[in-house]
Each structure stands twice: as structure tokens, then as C-alpha cells.
Subunit: 346 residues, 2 copies
């Protein structure tokens, strides 16, 4: 996989297409990226277009099946290219469609959201939701290339932007206390896109280093799950309740709960915990839960892909920059952490 | 992938299960293998059973989706094992289900048919049919282990047995003239199962050598497609006509047509062509076509996964043991070959 971090997206994509000698080029878009983003990329003006409905609740087998059918209709072969142009939903589903079409064809991811750029576009994870479980079906398959830029962000809704920022915050916490501080001082009111591209680059390097050490998530890669065991449970609960929340918001709240757990189990500094909780409350608001929801949340965490033997497994931090993978979480500790989360930000 | 060629199936499978420390063991069977084969393997007596309906026309998204759902129901995690116990339909679909469940869990293939043992169980190809196209959706994913034996064959219908034998014949033709001769003298009336296990071992070694050189079918592995470009077209036509034929029978007929092409294009010896045609006619009967079917067949071949730019691509032979991959076939040559095929065996 080649990672391009550049705002010259059209030229970069064009040279990948020209260099690949593909017989058919297909671009996967959703309703929004077709309208707002596709016109910015003249190199795709002759590509076959497959359009899907946006939204994580459409990241399912019905949409996947539609994409496969359209690929057949376009006459795609093993020597064709799929360009995934969209957020994480498009790159996850499109990556899986490409990785399984005729046992795998080339695909290029062009993430159009900050979340997509940070979370979904690098690392080779592809997949769909199934039976209400997030990313339950998928494969590890590296994109041929990923083109990361900020040119699509100025029209992004604030929520989308902050959602991606939460994943960068996670990488910063995995990397060092300095990175953590830098992220917490970011100015959302007047976004400096040049600074942002630099921060994105650092963030993706943190991720890429970890992924390269462990592409199929046997050990170190689990560090990237920081915030996600609890975050996914919040996200699934919200979906079940018919009030979906952005993925990154769930991760931000998950980071708070897992930082509490880190404090309880590994003496993560309480000062950092308080700073984090204040930042999250200020920028992401509150995910309201009561103790009546604890059993449901614990059950969702036991179904997490990272869990084993029905035990809940989290990556935690001794301090920023010192992750510890494979912590088995006791139910009581988790309930205590949820209590403290409610005290801190509810 | 570890290949076990042994008639001590239960002990071998048991040691894989014990050694893997799996939290959940699931066995995928079809209606037939549940009744006839599962009782022969006491090591699976505590496994969760997922049963599907046999037949290539059930190797589809509906069945796959059912298997995924059952895996969720069983509480399968990344540390669970799926044992695929059946013919190629079960190992192909089960392998794909396992390779995509939570982005991939361990699976073991226990082929119960000769075709499954030779064609489907080794080589890491998994997948399902889609939109009437065979194996259109799938991934390359190696089984953790494959256990090949002859203990399930005595109850196999003759057609099933001969179907698998055609794939062995293909490997023999790829390997050497001696192997080709040995296969043509096999006695179907009174099967020597010890001799058969030895021949299977040789056949699988031919295949494994090729697959190891080229796991994702970029070049040499295409040799294994001998007989299959035409064979798949016959098989698809038969399916479209509502009169499905066994895969290996289609391959046997495909071997005849592609040997004719080999003769036309690469001077494959006519004596071997006649011997092959006689053997196929005697043991596999005739797949009737007329010149009215040629366009339909050519169209199916252009949709083959191996085709590129709408051209028809075949592996051919200079002689037994000397395959040549990536031959582009002219329409006229193919029509001539189909004419000669009809003269030879219709």
C-alpha cells in the first residue's frame, strides 16, 4: 500500500490510474460525494460510477450485493480498478467489495472525511455490519494506494470533522504526552488546514508503524483499539435505540471511560484524565447513560471482536505513549469506570 | 496450511482441535455429510453444527448469510474454529465464511468427495457463486489444515467419484506423460483405495508445488486452469439450461476441447488427443452441443475470471508435462475446436 499525503489529489489519482493499465475503472461514491466531490476529480470523468446511499446503517449486505452486481454489469475483471471516494462507510464497504470480487481486484481509497482519512483508509481493514454487529464481516486487504488530503474538508459538517479528530486524539495518546497536549490545543473555531495536514501525517505515521508491525491484529495492533471497546458499545447501543451517534464521538466518550479504567488498573495520571474529560465534554458533549444500561453495554462489549471466552478486553494506558494491550476487565471495574464517567461528564 | 494425507481422520482432526485451544468449535455440514460422515468423527460430537442444503446452486449469498448468522449465534469469536466437512460446495462456502467472519478465523477442510479433495480443499480458493457466475465472489485464504483421506469414498455415487478423477487427470496431464498413462489405466470397476490414496498424494503435490510458486494466480498458477475455461462455460450453460452437470465432467469435456486447441495452436500430439477423447467419452459420456450454442459458450468464456479485455484466455499444453499459460484464443480457432470436439465424442 502506498500512502500519499497531498492536496494534489487529481494528479496523484490520475498517475495511479495511468500506471495501472486497467481495463475498467469504477468509482464508488455515495449520494453526497457524487455531488460534492466527484466533480473535483476530472481524472474520473470517464469512470463507471456506482452510487450507494450514505450512512453506517447502509454498510450492509444489501448495499454490498448491489455493488457486486454493478461491478459485474460494468464488465469488471481482475484487471479493473475500484476507486472508493467517500467516508469510512464507502472505503470499508468498497474495500471489501473489491477484495472479494473475483477473489480480489485493486482498489484505491480517497477518503473525503477526516474520520475516513484517519480511521478507515489506512490499515487494510475492510468490511460491513451484519446482524446489527459492526464490521462483523470483512477481511484484511490493503488498498493499492490511499490518497489523504484536506481539500474535501471545508464543506464537512462540524460533527464529521470532530468525529475524525477523536481518532487523531487516540493516536496522540498512544504516541506521547506532547502529541496529546498538541491535540488538546487545536483550534476548532478557525481551522488551520496546513497544520491539520501535518498533524494528520503524524497521526497516520503512528498508525502505520503499528499496523506494519502486526498487520492481522495478533498483538501490537490491538493498541489501536484504545477507546474502541467501550466506544463501539456506546455506538451499538445508540444504533439500537434508533439514535445513532458519529463513530468518533463514541470513541471520544470511550477514551474517557477507558482512561478511567487505565487510572484504576494502571495508574494513568488523574490530571490527564480530568483534562481529557473536560475537552471531550466541551467538544463532543455527553452520551447519557444510567446504571440501568450497564448490563446491555457489558453484553455488547463481550461481543466485541477483541473479546475472548466472553471476557471483556481493552487496550489501556499507563500514561500517554505507554499502551498496554490485552487487559481483561472485571465487571465491577467497568461498572465503577462507567460511574466515574457519568460523574465526570454527564 | 498443513496438508494431512491419512485415513486416520478422527485422530488427526482431534489433535488439531486440541492443539488450537479454540473457545468454540463449529462444524459445517450439508444434509448428506451430517447423516453419513459426521457420525464417523467422534471428535466432533460436542461441536456446534451448522447444516446447509447441498448442491452448487445453493453455494450462494443466501446460504452464506445463513452460515454467518449461525456463527454469530454460536458465539464464535476470532479464537473459534470452523471445520468444513463436505464436498467442494461446503469447503468453498465454509472457507469464505470463515475467512470473512470478524475478518478471518481458523478453518479446517475435511473434503468428503474425491473432487473436493483434489480440486477445492488445497490452494486457498474460497467463494460463492453470484448472479449466475461461478465463484464470482471469494478470497484467497489458506485453511489451517486440510485432511485428505479415502474413507468417505466407498459410499460416494459413481458420478461424484469420476468428477474428482477428472481433476486428477488434469494434474497428471500437467505433470508428465507417465502420469497421464497411469491415470488412463485406472480401474473404475474395482477401485483400489490404497493405490488411489497414492495417486491422490501425487496429484496434490503437483497442485501444491504450483500453488506455492504463485498463491494469488498471477502467472504459473494459471496452469491449473487447464480444461477449465471451456469446462466452466459448459458447466454454466448446463446450469442455465436447468440440467446441471458435475463439475469434473465439465472439466473432462473441457480437457478434450482444450487439447484440441493445444493441438491446433501448440502441436499437442494427436495420438494423446485421441486417447484422451476415447477415455472421456467412455467414462464421462457426451456433453451435446450444436453450432447454435457457440456464441453463448464464447460469451460465457469471455466472462471467465481469467479473461482480460474481453479476450478468451486458456492454459494449453505443448505436450503432457509442458503447460503454456496465457494463450489468447481466436474465436475461429475455438469454433474449430468445438467442431472437432463434436466429431470426436458427440
Amino acid at each position: 500500500m502506498t500512502l500519499h499525503i497531498t492536496n494534489d489529489v487529481d494528479a496523484t489519482l490520475n498517475s495511479i490510474i495511468e500506471g495501472g493499465n486497467y481495463n475498467v475503472v469504477i468509482v464508488l461514491v455515495d449520494t453526497n460525494t457524487r455531488r460534492l466531490v466527484l466533480p473535483l476529480l476530472p481524472c474520473l470523468s470517464n469512470a463507471h460510477i456506482i452510487e450507494i446511499t450514505p450512512g453506517d446503517d447502509n454498510k450492509n449486505l444489501v448495499t454490498l450485493s448491489h455493488v457486486w452486481s454493478e461491478m459485474v454489469q460494468c464488465g469488471a475483471t481482475r484487471h479493473s480498478l475500484l476507486v472508493n471516494l467517500g467516508g469510512g462507510m464507502v472505503t470499508d464497504l468498497g474495500g471489501f467489495a473489491a477484495a472479494t470480487f473475483k477473489r480480489g481486484i485493486d482498489f484505491v481509497n480517497v477518503p473525503t472525511t477526516l474520520l475516513g482519512a484517519i480511521d478507515a483508509a489506512v490499515g487494510g481493514k475492510t468490511g460491513i455490519n451484519f446482524n446489527g454487529l459492526k464490521n462483523e464481516i470483512g477481511v484484511f486487504a490493503p488498498a493499492k494506494a490511499v490518497i489523504v488530503s484536506t481539500i474535501f474538508f471545508p464543506t464537512l459538517p462540524e460533527k464529521e470533522f470532530k468525529s475524525g479528530f477523536a481518532e487523531m486524539l487516540k493516536h496522540a495518546m498512544l504516541h506521547s504526552h506532547d502529541s496529546f497536549d498538541q491535540m488538546l490545543s487545536f483550534n476548532f473555531q478557525s481551522i488551520d488546514y496546513d497544520l491539520l495536514l501535518t498533524l494528520m501525517k503524524e497521526s497516520l505515521l503512528v498508525k502505520q508503524n503499528i499496523v506494519e508491525q502486526d498487520p492481522t491484529e495478533q498483538n501490537m495492533r490491538k493498541a489501536l483499539n484504545l477507546g474502541h471497546t467501550v466506544g463501539h458499545a456506546f455506538e451499538s447501543k445508540a444504533l439500537d435505540d434508533g439514535k445513532p451517534v458519529p463513530h468518533g464521538y463514541a470513541v471520544a466518550w470511550g477514551l474517557v471511560v477507558e482512561s478511567v479504567l487505565s487510572h484504576i488498573m494502571l495508574q494513568f495520571p488523574s490530571a490527564d484524565l480530568y483534562t481529557l474529560a473536560r475537552f471531550v465534554k466541551e467538544n463532543y458533549g455527553v452520551f447519557h447513560i444510567t446504571c440501568d444500561h450497564y448490563d446491555q453495554l457489558l453484553d455488547l462489549m463481550r461481543h466485541d471482536k477483541k473479546s475472548q471466552n466472553g471476557e471483556i478486553n481493552c487496550t489501556l494506558l499507563k500514561e500517554c505513549g505507554k499502551p498496554v494491550i490485552n487487559n481483561t476487565i472485571k465487571e465491577d471495574d467497568l461498572k465503577t469506570a462507567l460511574d466515574i464517567y457519568r460523574d465526570l461528564i454527564c
